[in-house]
Symmetry: C2
Subunit: 392 residues, 2 copies
């Protein structure tokens, strides 16, 4: 070998135990971490396909759907957006993207790469969409797909979905919903609402590691997929072939090798789903909402102002807080991280430099953790006010 | 909730400790498994980006390249093929794909999805390509990219690469090499050969879990990427944005959030690379070749015939063995799995039903494991001959 082995890899791996209370990833529960260290299995071993079946059932439960085409993508949440766009859009087709933060913009970027005719309907960051506004846009543009984010983690905004499926279907439009940051914090009832494509993040409320993304397509979406005129561009995300690997179409047909799935990530997701199932989705949601209320009250006591004024528009899992004028947000979050290894995040996209973001997700959505993050935020703000030039 | 939590997830997760001696995944060493259970970190935390830097250096070392654009994709090895195709091809461009097994066909499938003009040059499964044959095809077709597999794991064939970069560049063609199954078993010298795009599998010789894929693009490939007329279709695999996240272009520029990387998989890959660095690539390769020789001798003693007759064309990491006429391959592999939890695989694609495949990779490439797999194969063959109708 001409090149020698790098010296940096001679050092041991050191991973600090942080408390992740930004918008995600959140901490995995010990049970999930333990599962990750189990030995790798083959991608078609019976134990693996059994775990895949269990995961499928778990995903159907968390989304409240009976969709056959339900599986986990071997990709991060971004792969979820991408899978929706590349499977459900063909070149030249119109897609309507509801944009009130970074996720809508990112979805629009992906959709145009696949040659779709992208139309964005926008509201102010911090606000959500009324049914009326969306219906008018559907009427006007007649898209084949509406993409909307239930939990805009860049702004901390919750988007109610009641009635939206019906309206979409009235205009012959599929409804795709991003629940990456919202699932487990607010009710998600895919079949009841009439959602046609839905995905979520593994590393938020669920408490699994990132890198694997639960996704589900309705019968309507499946029909669109199977009646495409052009092939899905991305083999890796082609839901037709993935559906065959996950035995979504015919349980008796032998599974077809598509890619080498990461059993490591399957173990983590399986255990995370099992924990959510044990607690029950209603209890999970209630716990998150109670914790969010506790957080709001604590923040108000501290004299802080929330970015989303209307409580009904707030996402319980990600709270955005106006940065007070007398501090630099970076100093505050750096103090919390350096002193307590606790993560509070800054803004992103439209909220960059304007807000703190506190995540209450899964393992960290407990009254004790809310108290902890409030105390540390207060101390960090105090420190920053007293030491405005401190470089941490 | 209308739907109740599935009962299947009430049971505990049970993962057997198997010996994986098929074509991959292989077993992760205990050090790697332990690393996987470390707490998740944020995708832009300093500890995470430090690990990413270390991984980058480790990948440069295993590929023997100084390429700046070197990183790990958040996807399985299939994502590696896909990343090559979607980044380096534009609609209508010609790609030449050397096909002597399943991987060439799969690459061709992906390339045509991106609208490339796909030309396949073929040899018989079990054989590899001469430089002359490849040069003639380059001369005739004038493609912008040649894709070739160094280790065809479906047939157990090794493809030498000496001189190929020079020939490709003479015809103004980029050279992309799949080293998923070969890296660590045979020398891979990306810069010396003049490889422009290279990737490998994490779950083979390296001994990391699947789901993360080392990849590297040369300066030439980078130029092609940056001079594209059309956008890369797949945001998730866009090497320009990924390169920014991995700080491949300018170390002083702040990293840009692209997707939530799986720190879990980073830990595993980091430790796997560290172990390879400690042993040294030359020693790793020598160990694999010695083990392969030991395997060949043992198989010959048992009267078995290798699928690849010419020893120089054999891939040390994956050995293909003709299934004897008097047994059903499925009975043999099922006996080994059921009795010893040891995986020996059947064929794939052109070798389906024709061969056994034995993998000697990473943690399992030791003289003891070779003896083990030989003993168990012998016992399994004997059992199948004595009990031809046994249903396992």
């Amino acid at each position: 070998m001409v090149m020698e082995a790098p010296r940096s890899l001679r050092k041991p791996l050191i991973v600090p135990h942080k408390v992740l209370m930004g918008p995600g990833p959140s901490n995995c529960p010990p049970r999930v971490l333990h599962a990750l260290s189990q030995p790798v299995l083959g991608h078609l071993h019976t134990e693996t396909t059994k775990i895949m079946d269990e995961i499928k059932e778990g995903i159907q439960y968390i989304f409240q759907t009976r969709n056959e085409l339900t599986l986990a993508l071997s990709a991060s949440g971004h792969g979820g957006i991408e899978a929706v766009m590349c499977n459900l859009l063909e070149p030249g087709e119109k897609v309507l993207i509801a944009t009130n933060g970074i996720w809508g913009d990112r979805a629009a970027n992906m959709a145009q790469r696949y040659g779709a005719n992208v139309i964005q309907v926008k509201t102010q960051p911090g606000n959500n969409f009324t049914l009326e506004l969306l219906e008018n846009a559907l009427m006007k543009h007649k898209p084949v797909l509406l993409f909307i984010v239930q939990g805009e983690s860049s702004t901390g905004v919750y988007q109610p979905l009641d009635g939206l499926g019906e309206i979409c279907h009235r205009y012959n439009c599929l409804l795709a919903v991003d629940t990456v940051a919202s699932l487990g914090g607010v009710p998600v009832k895919a079949d009841e609402i009439g959602i046609d494509a839905i995905y979520t993040g593994s590393q938020k409320v669920l408490g699994a590691p990132p890198g694997i993304t639960p996704i589900s397509f309705s019968e309507r979406a499946k029909q669109k997929l199977f009646n495409r005129k052009t092939e899905v561009k991305v083999y890796y995300l082609d839901m037709k072939i993935l559906g065959d690997y996950w035995a979504c179409f015919d349980k008796n047909r032998p599974r077809v090798y598509h890619h080498t799935i990461s059993t490591t990530l399957l173990y983590g997701l399986r255990e995370a789903l099992a924990m959510v199932c044990e607690e029950g989705m209603n209890s999970v949601i209630e716990r998150h909402q109670k914790c969010a209320d506790q957080l709001y009250k604590g923040l108000e006591r501290m004299g802080l102002e929330l970015f989303v004024g209307d409580k009904l528009k707030r996402l319980p899992t990600v709270t955005t807080i106006q940065v007070p004028n007398d501090v630099d947000w970076k100093d505050v979050t750096a103090y919390a991280m350096k002193t307590y290894l606790l993560e509070i995040s800054g803004g992103l996209g439209p909220t960059a430099n304007k807000v703190f973001r506190i995540g209450l997700m899964g393992y960290n959505a407990t009254p004790e953790k809310v108290d902890l993050v409030l105390e540390i935020l207060k101390e960090s703000l105090d420190y920053s006010r007293k030491h405005p030039k401190a470089k941490l």
